[in-house]
């Protein structure tokens, strides 16, 4: 796990390679079987070709250039909304600093959103903090949980596979990331026995204080059932662990009979003693879901059952940085309080969301179908999230070649896929996986024609690769 820091260097090398290739394909005249690299390395909807939501962009544009509020080219609800949002900004401008924890009216709006989502369970604005992206919120909370001076060191249980930024935050703070393995055979299910094993394994190594859960998963595309969520809460209660729940993909659920269950709601419905004692931080952001506004930088955290003294300290932490970008905060508000039936923009908004959802559902099916039809490649059904994380069953010859080049086998595969196939994906090693298994990760939120081309290239490359190393 400590070696994860090196992942960053590898990741950067990959990104640079992709940029170089992208430039080369446009200029060097070398014949390649592709014109442009398909970049599905990150969960970045717009980079991959998906369109932003019209309502969001119209409101933001009018907020940035207020004379647009009088433009008849924009729907009435857009103009009214922009006026409302600007009314909440200091000096009526998105250029002003806001209160560091976030614009109070937007925080209030988020609390209303959470209440609606969770069937009326109250959400308190004083427990919500806005930050420039969810990773920053996670870092701040980790800062409070991790005791750098402690011996044994603080431990945080993390899923394997897991996206690497959180792991990096943990290790940078001097804490220990304690892995618990998701069960690939059961569609990446989270099993309590495995949590138990992981917790036991920490004895003598570190003192686990928190459990980090991603639901829906990243990169593994699972969605926890109600039963699973309750089991995890119970486990956290038994072991007195702080629950850090990354719920960024809560809108991205496509599996049949799958439904997003918020940890807060489940906790509340469990009743005492759990509901009043289990400490929980849940995270969300504008970067994922259907907004896909990664570049605007805004997310929030909701805190539940924290000691008032700790809340005070958290408030200080979130107040000492300058505020989150105001445009991002507004985008967050638009995400949690979208157009309603009857509003002029509602139909288009709904249409665009449905279009994105259709593309995702279609992608998920196609990926599952195509990957499972190829030899040496397998993938459980993708129930949610924005990624596919299929498994590569590499031959000893391929593994050997990778070792000779000083690369992890899946990194070797991804590098070849980038150079020869023109598809930029992430090696499973970067996210963690069981010893001796190999995976790749790629974003599935791409337009239909791009997904077809991606799968065509992937299939063609994969067959050649498997043949070369048979």
């Amino acid at each position: 796990m400590a070696a994860r820091g090196l992942d960053l260097i590898l990741h950067r090398a990959q990104v640079k390679l992709c940029d170089k290739l992208q430039a080369k394909t446009q200029s060097d005249g070398v014949r390649r079987p592709y014109k442009e690299v398909i970049d599905v390395f990150q969960g970045d909807l717009h980079r991959a070709g998906m369109k932003p939501l019209t309502f969001v962009r119209q409101v933001l544009a009018a907020c940035v250039y207020p004379p647009l509020i009088n433009s008849s080219n924009l729907p009435l609800d857009v103009r009214q909304r922009a006026q409302e949002e600007l009314g909440r900004c200091v000096g009526g401008s998105v250029g002003s600093y806001s209160a560091a924890p976030g614009i109070p009216e937007i925080i209030h709006s988020i609390s209303e959103f959470i209440k609606r989502r969770d069937g009326g369970i109250p959400s308190h604005p004083e427990n919500i903090y806005i930050s420039p992206g969810s990773q920053w919120s996670i870092s701040n909370i980790l800062n409070v949980l991790v005791n750098r001076e402690a011996s044994p060191r603080t431990g945080v249980l993390i899923p394997v596979p897991c996206h690497n930024k959180t792991v990096l935050s943990i290790t940078q703070l001097g804490a220990v990331a304690v892995p618990y393995y998701l069960s690939e055979e059961q569609g990446w299910a989270l099993q309590v026995e495995e949590l138990q094993r992981a917790h036991e394994s920490a004895k003598g190594v570190c003192n686990p204080v928190a459990l980090y859960v991603i639901n829906p998963g990243n990169p593994a595309g699972y969605v926890q059932s109600q039963k699973s969520v309750l089991e995890v809460i119970r486990f956290a209660w038994e072991k007195r662990l702080f629950l850090l729940v990354d719920e960024l993909y809560q809108d991205c659920v496509y599996g049949e009979n799958c439904e997003f269950v918020s940890y807060k709601r489940a906790l509340s419905e469990m009743g005492p003693p759990f509901s009043g004692t289990v400490e929980l931080a849940s995270f969300h952001s504008v970067s994922k879901g259907f907004s896909g506004e990664c570049g605007l930088r805004a997310g929030y955290v909701e805190l539940v059952n924290l000691d008032p003294a700790v809340m005070k300290h958290i408030h200080t932490l979130f107040s000492k940085d300058a505020c989150s970008p105001v445009l991002g905060q507004i985008a967050l508000n638009l995400m949690t309080d979208p157009p309603k039936p009857g509003d002029p923009s509602y139909l288009l908004y709904k249409q665009e969301i449905e279009q994105i959802r259709t593309v995702l559902v279609h992608s998920v099916k196609k990926v599952h179908e195509v990957v499972n039809s190829l030899p040496g490649f397998s993938c459980p059904p993708i129930e949610g999230g924005l990624f596919a994380f299929p498994r590569l069953h590499l031959t000893p010859k391929a593994i050997q070649k990778a070792k000779e080049l000083g690369l992890q086998p899946d990194t070797f595969y991804c590098t070849r896929l980038l150079e020869e196939g023109g598809v930029f994906t992430g090696p499973g090693w970067e996210y963690g996986q069981k010893e001796g298994t190999y995976h790749i990760r790629f974003c599935i939120a791409v337009p239909q024609d791009v997904m077809e081309e991606l799968l065509r290239r992937l299939s063609s490359f994969h067959m050649t690769f498997m043949k070369d190393f048979s």
């Binding site: 970045d44 544009a61 004379p67 250029g95 002003s96 940078q172 930088r297 940085d321 300058a322 970008p325």
Partner: protein
């Protein structure tokens, strides 16, 4: 019952808070970048549309919603390098420019990379007294020792080499001073250094082998007569070749603090000079783990360093708007200083740049009793922003 209806908040350098309008060109281009359908809107000038198109091409997926490289969009870094080259007549390169979510974050990253040691070997950073209040938080977070050196109030808050030397010498007893922070134009003092003063500081940094952290965030706001902003980099490169090739310097600028003043967009940059390429690699990596700069802010930086040129449709309005901001500042600086100096117990040094005044208050001893706090000094200073319009007119002396 108070003699005012509304509190006028001038505690932060935020002009929108007090009704200073935005710069139209910047806001128009950003609006089009956010909602590209506006490219078809007749009310936007041609240069706005052309610029927006160019900026969108620089963004992945042609969207402000995409992630960017952690050091910032290549196109913007290149624009910044060209701006600096033009400003200083000295070449500047994109790979030495790092974009950050505000200059505060940039300063923190630079200092964090420098920070090391424990106890007596802990890294120390010389900071001016007075200095911007955010610096304390930033340096504390970076884990360094603060070593204050006094500016000379009687000489308009000028830099005093003797004070610097004394501070450094004393500091060597309890830490390892490795950098010196200086802001020019000064925050909150309003002092603008002349070439000779800058040269002296550079020579000090060279002799004592400390990194120069030059906060030049108010470089656009110089209005004092016979005062002009000269960048530390320009002065350095016009000195001895040995100094020009060895003195390590990082200079900071930001969207929050110029005529543009878009604090809420959260973007700034640093230029790194004479730094080992291996160290530069670490800047990049550290930025990876820090707050990412919003794309809208990055585009704002491009617009700040590359404004409309003479002949462009938006040029006239742009010049009018920025001229108005500077004229307001200049007027306020003069007027506030005159007004304050007429008040008993108040003394205000002339302000030549930046957006704050920092008058000195001699308080009667009775205040100490009133405050009922031990150690309340009877002489202290008050810092407030002068980016006001006519609101001050209402204030009765």
């Amino acid at each position: 019952q108070k003699p005012f209806k509304k509190v006028i908040d001038v505690s932060s350098g935020d002009p929108h808070r007090v009704d200073l309008q935005h710069v139209s060109f910047l806001r128009q281009v950003l609006a089009v970048c956010i909602y590209p359908q506006l490219l078809e809107d007749k009310c936007f000038p041609l240069d706005v549309k052309i610029r927006a198109q160019k900026l969108l091409e620089a963004c992945d997926g042609a969207s402000v919603g995409s992630y960017t490289a952690s050091s910032g969009l290549r196109h913007v870094r290149q624009s910044i390098a060209e701006f600096i080259t033009k400003r200083d007549g000295v070449p500047s390169y994109a790979q030495n420019i790092f974009i950050s979510a505000g200059s505060q974050r940039a300063i923190m990253i630079a200092v964090k990379l420098l920070a090391s040691g424990e106890g007596n070997t802990r890294t120390g950073v010389l900071i001016p007294g007075p200095c911007p209040h955010m610096l304390y938080n930033v340096l504390e977070e970076a884990g360094v020792v603060l070593v204050p050196y006094q500016l000379t109030e009687e000489r308009g808050w000028a830099v005093d080499l003797d004070n610097m030397h004394q501070a450094l010498k004393a500091a060597r007893g309890y830490c390892e001073p490795r950098a010196i922070y200086i802001s020019n134009p000064g925050n909150p003092t309003g002092h603008v250094q002349d070439r000779k003063s800058i040269e002296e500081v550079i020579q000090f940094a060279a002799a004592e082998r400390v990194l120069l952290l030059a906060d030049e965030v108010y470089q656009d706001s110089v209005y004092g007569k016979d005062r002009e902003f000269i960048s530390y980099k320009k002065v350095l490169f016009e000195m001895d070749i040995e100094l020009a090739e060895t003195v390590q310097l990082i200079s900071f600028h930001s969207l929050s603090s110029t005529c543009i003043r878009e604090c809420g967009l959260r973007a700034g940059y640093m230029e790194v000079v004479n730094m080992d390429p291996e160290v530069i690699y670490y800047f990049d990596n550290t930025l990876c783990c820090d707050i990412s700069t919003p794309v809208t802010g990055q585009l704002g930086l491009d617009l700040m360093v590359n404004p409309p040129q003479s002949g462009d449709p938006s040029y006239h309005t742009y010049m009018q708007e920025t001229f108005f901001i500077l004229a307001t500042l200049s007027h306020n600086a003069q007027w506030v200083q005159e007004l304050l100096n007429k008040l008993p117990g108040v003394r205000c040094q002339p302000v030549f740049g930046g957006i704050y005044v920092f008058p000195r208050l001699h308080l009667p001893c009775g205040i100490k009793e009133q405050a009922k706090v031990g150690n309340v000094p009877t002489i202290f200073h008050l810092s407030f922003s002068i980016s006001l319009l006519s609101m001050l007119m209402e204030y009765q002396v």
